[in-house]
Assembly symmetry: C2
Homo-oligomer: 395 residues x 2
């Protein structure tokens, strides 16, 4: 039987590593992260699992023989919340432990390393899945100038052999939603249909830097005006391309020289968009590029579009997803929904290796990656129960 008080007690214990106020500071390879992984390894061992750190510091608790893999990540943002990936790891341990106690199916557990991107983003699962060669990841530098190869030394002699993904029949990740949908609707569970893909471009519009007093409006080539005109026109043009799940964001803007008395000569900005549908991502890109070219030409601005970054959308496995839906209907009848994941998760990478599925519990106020991040206890327990049922362990 799932033991909810043991689950909650473990969750709060994990919070103590790197705790600060209501939040947690436990970035990948920091002392609190390594200490937390050592404690998690102990809990996995007590649950009868074989503990294994791989070279990245991904921590596995392995059941014997073929098994379903559950988990998430236990590293946090530089100023993170207490649940984020931690919830999925602790829930996985409780389900594996309970399953073993009742003679249920074989369940393995994982806490991936550096999901939060000290060295890029979903780094541990990207390396494990084969997407990113370790040698390539090793030269990535964090904001303090430390490369991954150096940070990994914090693992010391913990590192064992690689973990063969062929032993796993699938992967299920429980995570907080990190958005407002479930909380706003008063629902307890989101069964993920797809993890959205994203595309990102860095765009530079170049005009003519000039004196803001002596340059008549008609003779200006103002790069900021170009950005603003593009933005408004894009919002209008995208209306008949997007769905309510599509999002697009100009989050970074750098104006040069950025002085109140100087007509901006240059503006560099990020253009990011996300959608579940790869074709729609491409259609949005076409609208963006056409609108940029049109505005630049009309306003006499230079246009430079950087390389396209992004990840493809990933559809969840229909079998695992159906098991989550049935379980959600038992645990939270009428209080669950199907929904896409707007955020990236380790499951995106693991999908290269095996069937994957995900479920969400609500984020109060939609807040995450902040000290205030929280979820009602009843919803945490509902998430555990749905995960347990989907994994074949009766609640």
């Amino acid at each position: 039987m799932l033991n909810t008080s043991r689950f909650l007690s473990d969750l709060h214990h994990l919070r103590s590593y790197g705790a600060q106020g209501k939040g947690v500071i436990r970035p990948a390879y920091s002392a609190p992260d390594i200490a937390a992984r050592d404690w998690l390894a102990g809990r996995m061992a007590e649950a009868g699992l074989a503990v294994r750190f791989d070279a990245m510091g991904n921590l596995f608790g392995l059941a014997a023989g073929p098994s379903l893999l559950l988990g998430s990540h236990s590293d946090t943002q530089p100023t993170g919340g207490w649940l984020d990936g931690a919830l999925g790891v602790i829930a996985a341990i409780e389900v594996a432990r309970a399953s073993r106690e009742v003679g249920g199916p074989a369940i393995s557990v994982v806490s991936f390393q550096d999901e939060e991107g000290r060295f890029g983003g979903t780094t541990g699962s990207a390396v494990w899945s084969g997407l990113l060669p370790l040698a390539e990841a090793d030269v990535v530098m964090d904001t303090d100038g430390v490369v991954l190869a150096e940070a990994r030394r914090a693992l010391g002699n913990r590192v064992g052999s690689d973990v063969d993904p062929a032993q796993f029949t699938g992967f299920i990740e429980l995570h907080i939603e990190q958005g407002p949908a479930l909380d706003t609707a008063g629902e307890q569970i989101g069964v993920v249909t797809d993890i959205v893909g994203y595309r990102e471009l860095m765009v530079t519009l170049s005009g003519q830097q000039n004196h803001a007093g002596t340059t008549p409006m008609a003779l200006r080539r103002d790069a900021f005006q170009g950005l603003s005109a593009f933005n408004v026109r894009l919002n209008d043009r995208l209306r008949n391309v997007v769905t309510p799940q599509s999002v697009w964001t100009i989050g970074h803007v750098a104006v040069t020289p950025n002085a109140s008395s100087i007509v901006p000569g240059l503006v560099r900005f990020s253009m990011q968009w996300r959608d579940c549908d790869g074709d729609r991502l491409a259609r949005i890109q076409a609208v963006i590029e056409a609108t940029l070219a049109e505005v630049a030409s009309e306003m006499g601005l230079g246009l430079d579009i950087g390389p396209l970054l992004g990840l493809e959308p990933v559809a969840m496995d229909p079998v695992l997803r159906a098991r989550l839906q049935s379980a959600a209907e038992v645990v939270a009848p009428g209080r669950w929904r199907q929904m896409p994941s707007g955020a990236l998760h380790d499951a995106t990478n693991v999908a290269r290796l095996m069937p994957v599925a995900m479920l969400f519990v609500p984020s109060i106020g939609g807040i995450s990656h902040a000290f205030e991040e929280d979820t009602a206890e009843a919803d945490l327990v509902a998430g555990l129960r749905v995960l347990g049922r989907a994994a074949g362990v009766q609640p």
Copy 2:
């Protein structure tokens, strides 16, 4: 008689103080600035003028009795052009010298200090005109953390008594246009009608910082979108308020947190506008504030508008201006125009004390405050001749 080769030779000699490539680095109170002022003082003395530095380092060459004051400033931007204020100072010396040689009217000369704003902007003339108390200016710090009181020590024992403005019958400043109008039209002289006033506000729009993947468009309160919507609406609304001489600029933009994957929670930006007409400046302000309030309300954004900064427009004296117009028609028939000054000048402050007028010569390509700043030699000479005629010295 005005001696154009002596004028050009002096102009090139002044350029040698702080010369770097085609440009000049001679900010207020720097060693090259003080050395240049010492050389200018010598040239003034040779022209029979009584030399006087005031406490700010404004350098006067004083004729006996009531006189017309001519001049500008000899300090430069941190990376400045060779003409800017230097032209007006050297032309003033040539006119004063030539007038004395031919027994013409009494002409005094000034090179104001720190027009370029190491300690604020038009600092020397602001103090001399009584707009800015010296004690208040003295605590202003430059970008290196040096206060004016400390910088002024570079004047050493040069400082004499204050210069009484009552001895001057008026002030005429020759300056490069620092804009493209004359160069574009192939004209030689601009007779200034007004120095435009300006207004400036720092505006903060605050929304909700959020995850750019998980926050649906309909639930966003994106501060950058607020800025963009305001900007486009303002441009539209101002059309029936402004004239072709009005300008408005968003030159500074700071987005928070300024990351491609985060919906901007805050944007702080400068809103500056300039016009010759004080009433129109106020009407533009009303449109700006109404549009900001409307956009903030519609988009659920917080709005904070900082204190209003600015200077009133200054109309040129009709008598001095008429003398410049007559002189321009003799020196450059059909190749001059009346025009406002979009930039601020020392004349703005001097207008508190006496009648003032200004004339412009073309800036090639409209470029100023840059090493490339230049003016055709024929136009420099035309400027000198118009100034000389307007001052009552026959060319």
